[in-house]
């Protein structure tokens, strides 16, 4: 599926989710920044500053395109118009990677701008696999699929998330994006072990690792309820889970995600440096 003209994959270095307010900082003093991730939907306009900035950034850094609107887990068909827009973006930008989420966000032509959960059943697996194949065929390359943050469970689920993702990767040839903050959030919320999740995760299929911050709340029974907000620094237990993961997986491209209450560039640069230190521990 890879064609010879495709840009090389993401480097096993630390990147950051791109925010337009950091454009000048990134162009003038990127520090240890190894690559950038953009949200696909923000670059699907016809022109203007967003696309001009992206062209400049792409000349200097490997770019990962991360979609938040395909609704891969949707019960309905994928949105053909959106798929066409994605194909156009991937064609002209030729990014190092394209990734999306194991989630749904559109139903009956309405888009909810959130990543909604799926029951893990053979029926869901068939549907998601069909959609992943359709995306990969449309854009002519492998995609990565990201594990979600879970707040609740479906009584109808018959598979573990790790089995679901492993089977999906085997069937479709897609890669996986492992968000270790999501692993920590889900494990806390569902009272499971984050290390056991990593132990059972098909790490060979991982093309990228995400790190982000979360909020803390509790449910009506007093049990902890962590919310994946991307609005804070990565917490120590998540850094520890990253070390645990990298020790098993070896070096991978790492990404700091900070999408709400976005701080000044130096705060993000510190997070990038900390991720780099985690990588250096496993670099031979």
């Amino acid at each position: 599926m890879l064609d010879a003209t495709q840009n090389p994959p993401l480097p096993a270095r630390s990147g950051v989710g791109y925010k337009a307010q950091h454009y000048s900082d990134i162009m003038e003093s990127p520090g240890p920044l190894g690559w950038l991730e953009i949200h696909a939907e923000n670059y699907m306009g016809d022109g203007g500053r967003p696309l001009a900035q992206l062209r400049h950034l792409a000349e200097r850094f490997p770019i990962s395109v991360h979609g938040v609107g395909l609704s891969i887990g949707g019960e309905g068909d994928l949105d053909a118009d959106h798929l066409a827009r994605l194909k156009h973006l991937v064609s002209w930008l030729n990014p190092a990677s394209f990734s999306e989420h194991l989630a749904w966000s559109t139903h009956d032509s309405h888009f909810f701008n959130d990543l909604l959960p799926l029951p893990y059943t053979p029926k869901t697996l068939d549907r998601v696999a069909t959609h992943v194949q359709q995306v990969q065929e449309t854009i002519g390359r492998q995609m990565l699929l990201e594990n979600p943050s879970s707040y609740l469970a479906f009584a109808e689920s018959t598979m573990s998330e790790t089995d679901f993702l492993r089977e999906l990767a085997q069937r479709t040839g897609c890669g996986l994006l492992l968000d270790v903050n999501n692993v920590f959030v889900s494990a806390t919320n569902l009272k499971t072990s984050p290390q056991a999740y990593i132990d059972d995760f098909p790490l060979d299929a991982v093309g990228e690792i995400h790190l982000g911050g979360h909020d803390e709340d509790e449910d009506e029974t007093g049990a902890p309820l962590l919310i994946d907000s991307h609005g804070k620094a990565v917490v120590d237990p998540v850094w520890a889970l990253l070390d645990y993961t990298l020790a098993k997986s070896g070096p991978k491209p790492l990404l700091i995600e900070w999408d709400t209450d976005v701080p000044e560039w130096p705060v993000l640069a510190d997070e990038i440096e900390r991720a780099d230190r985690a990588l250096s521990l496993v670099m031979s």
Binding site: P119, L152, A153, A155
Partner: protein, 245 residues
């Protein structure tokens, strides 16, 4: 026990609805507060998008009123596409019909201006035409000439002083709006859209040009308050003319 996405969506958009059976916490019990995370995420993310999209409407209504209005809007008009940059196309019509806002007749037109500015921001880039081309035209050819305008170019016409209201809410030294009909032209020479006050005749003329009509046809449609020289001067100065043919 299967939770369909239809059932999930209905319960998610209605805070008073029961959580679908089959959604559980790790102990297998009902999980209403956990389900509320999605209710909250969706409402907050769509409200935030509307706040960012309509800053002047928000300023006119006040934060609290806007947030309450947005809560009604987002349930009645969820986005129809994942392109959040264009969310809110239904806002002008909604504000004109929504009971608490329909008495503010200017609000739908202010929302139209804010939508037009966003569309201009994301419109395709364009290279402006050389204004010298006008100089080489034979005098009798001028009225048959057509102009292609940059994709960012838009007009909004109103019975209200929309330009003055917009300025008064975006600039510190702007004069107080006086009740009169106003129209605006939105252009984008570089990356930042600009808003210009024009009269209704100029708006009629520019809209005719955008439809591919000649200068003569556009002039004939507009009333005699049209100053064609001023319209052409403004369009050319803003780099809004991409071809003269």
């Amino acid at each position: 026990m299967t939770v369909t996405q239809t059932a999930f969506k209905a319960a998610m958009l209605d805070p008073a609805a029961a959580v679908p059976t089959g959604i559980v916490n790790p102990d297998g019990a009902a999980a209403s507060k956990r389900f509320d995370v999605y209710r909250n995420n969706v409402a907050v993310s769509l409200s935030d998008a509307l706040e960012a999209a309509f800053p002047v409407v928000r300023k006119l209504l006040g934060d609290e009123f806007f947030r309450a209005m947005a809560g009604v809007f987002l349930r009645k008009h969820p986005p129809k596409s994942p392109l959040m940059m264009f969310y809110g196309d239904a806002m002008p019509q909604f504000l004109g019909r929504f009971e608490p806002t329909k008495k503010f007749g200017y609000l739908p037109d202010i929302a139209k201006v804010e939508l037009a500015i966003r569309h201009a921001y994301h419109a395709a880039d364009a290279t402006s035409a050389d204004a010298q081309a006008f100089g080489t035209l034979a005098p009798d050819a001028l009225m048959g000439t057509k102009l292609r305008l940059a994709p960012a170019t838009q007009t909004v016409t109103s019975d209200y002083p929309i330009h003055a209201i917009y300025r008064a809410n975006t600039q510190t030294d702007a004069p107080k709006p006086v009740m009169q009909a106003e129209a605006v032209l939105i252009t984008r020479a570089g990356f930042d859209p600009e808003i210009h006050h024009i009269n209704a005749a100029a708006a009629t003329c520019i809209e005719a040009l955008m439809k591919g009509q000649s200068l003569g046809q556009a002039m004939a449609i507009a009333d005699d308050t049209l100053d064609l020289g001023a319209v052409l001067g403004l369009l050319l100065a803003q780099g809004a003319v991409t071809e003269i043919y």
